[in-house]
């Protein structure tokens, strides 16, 4: 899930961003993996994730193909974790997103005990992941470092936009939408939480962190 690797920002900005994901490897441990992946999602609920998702059906906030126009005035932004768990029907990657380290640490400890046999990865700051492993008594197996963005970086928007848009590494949250949401929060047209929910619905695998997004939107709106 490289889509979680290249999130923009210094290590400190990931203090409320812990993506724990599970996947199987085709031909090696994919047989019977759906129920194990589902168990991963169910176990995550105990630690109050801010998002859950699978790469086939999306996250806990999804777009609606038959939206009632009345929803404009009372849009539901409650994450629907039950749908994520129910809809999982094929081997894929599943993810749980937490906005605090203690929750991620306890979840990883639980995963160790559950021994699902799936590959488990933590995507956060290098130090944050080490702390989770340490708390669970697990030595890291492998690490994939993000070296950030290079090349024609003049094509990229400013940092406040990148902090938001790169939370969907598949690129489904556009820079323009992120900029628009910063402006709307700045103008008081939406709350940071509402603006974060709009962006979250575009993430097609449920790894967007709406809690971090709301914090970043609030900061950006204040010009920080």
């Amino acid at each position: 899930m490289t889509n979680t690797l290249h999130r923009y920002g210094p290590a400190e900005s990931f203090r409320d961003d812990y993506v724990v994901f599970a996947m199987c490897s085709k031909g090696r441990n994919d047989e019977g993996s759906v129920e194990k992946l589902r168990k991963f999602l169910v176990m995550a609920l105990d630690y109050r994730p801010v998002n859950l998702g699978d790469a086939l059906h999306g996250g806990a906030l999804r777009p609606c193909t038959e939206m009632n126009p009345a929803a404009h005035w009372q849009r539901d932004t409650t994450p629907d974790f039950a749908s994520v768990i129910r809809d999982l029907d094929a081997p894929t990657t599943v993810a749980a997103v937490f906005d605090n380290r203690p929750a991620a640490e306890r979840f990883v400890s639980d995963l160790r005990k559950a021994d699902l046999g799936l590959s488990i990865n933590i995507s956060t700051s290098v130090d944050g992941a080490e702390q989770c492993c340490f708390a669970a008594g697990i030595p890291r197996h492998s690490v994939g470092y993000s070296l950030g963005f290079e090349g024609k970086t003049e094509k990229l928007p400013d940092g406040s936009v990148l902090l938001l848009s790169t939370m969907c590494g598949h690129g489904m949250v556009s820079h323009n939408l992120a900029k628009k949401m910063i402006d709307w929060v700045k103008e008081g047209r939406r709350t940071p939480e509402q603006a974060a929910a709009y962006m979250t619905r575009f993430c097609s695998c449920g790894v967007f962190n709406p809690s971090r997004a709301a914090r970043l939107l609030e900061s950006a709106a204040r010009g920080e």
């Binding site: 889509n3 990865n121 470092y145 070296l147 489904m172 575009f202």
Partner: protein, 269 residues
Amino acid sequence: MKINPDKCVACGNCTYVCPMSAIYIDPAIGRATINRSECVECYACFNGLSQEHLNPTFVRTLRKVFKLARLRFDPEPDVCPTAAFEPDPLEWPRVVRRAFSDPRVPHESTGVHGRGTEEVKTNDISGRVGPGEVGFTIEFGRPGVGVWFRDIQKMCWALARAGVAFEKKNPITSMMSDVATGTIREDIMGEKVLSAIVEIKVPVARTEEIVRLVWDVENQIDTVVALGVGARCDENGDENAVAPILEKLGYRLERAKTNIGLGRITNAA
């Protein structure tokens, strides 16, 4: 992707959500229009926008009345009020755009969704990157810039000249007509995708050489590159082989994806 002009009410919501900024309101027809050259068929518009099914004539009339009063019709920003987006059948080679850009479409070559590769995420059971080795994921076009295959080609040729081996289970490798020379099939050179990853593996001793090679090619291509470096940790969970080299080259290692080694082979033989 296409926008049905009979349904579109030119609210403009889709112009913001397109990752490639390929959608614009054409003043000549008063409808949202897709720049087909820039569209990468990622389906963010079709899959990401919620859809209402309002009557287009009603909405257009409403907008005209509002406009007269200098008021603005202001739908939710993640909604297409008339469900105007309609996927159109994609033929070769344009279908390659969607395969590399829509994360919900699995790559046929690997069966993996997203960018189609497992990298070090399953290294605990695949052994893809072993002790003394370093795996590079060289990703083009991310975030939100996109990349033409002709630019990816330049990097692949440079890497092949350096004698590196391309990862077999990778969608870009599967698009090569000659893996030894890193030559990608000619008929997709004119296609643009949201992002794509080239994967290689070399001994740790070649880390600096490869980074410098990537830096050199980055100057020759018209996009951004996100570099990922995968390494195996030792029995204590430490990784002291690759990180010092990267730090010496000036990188600050802020974020990583960490495989915690709980996977195991469970399929029947």
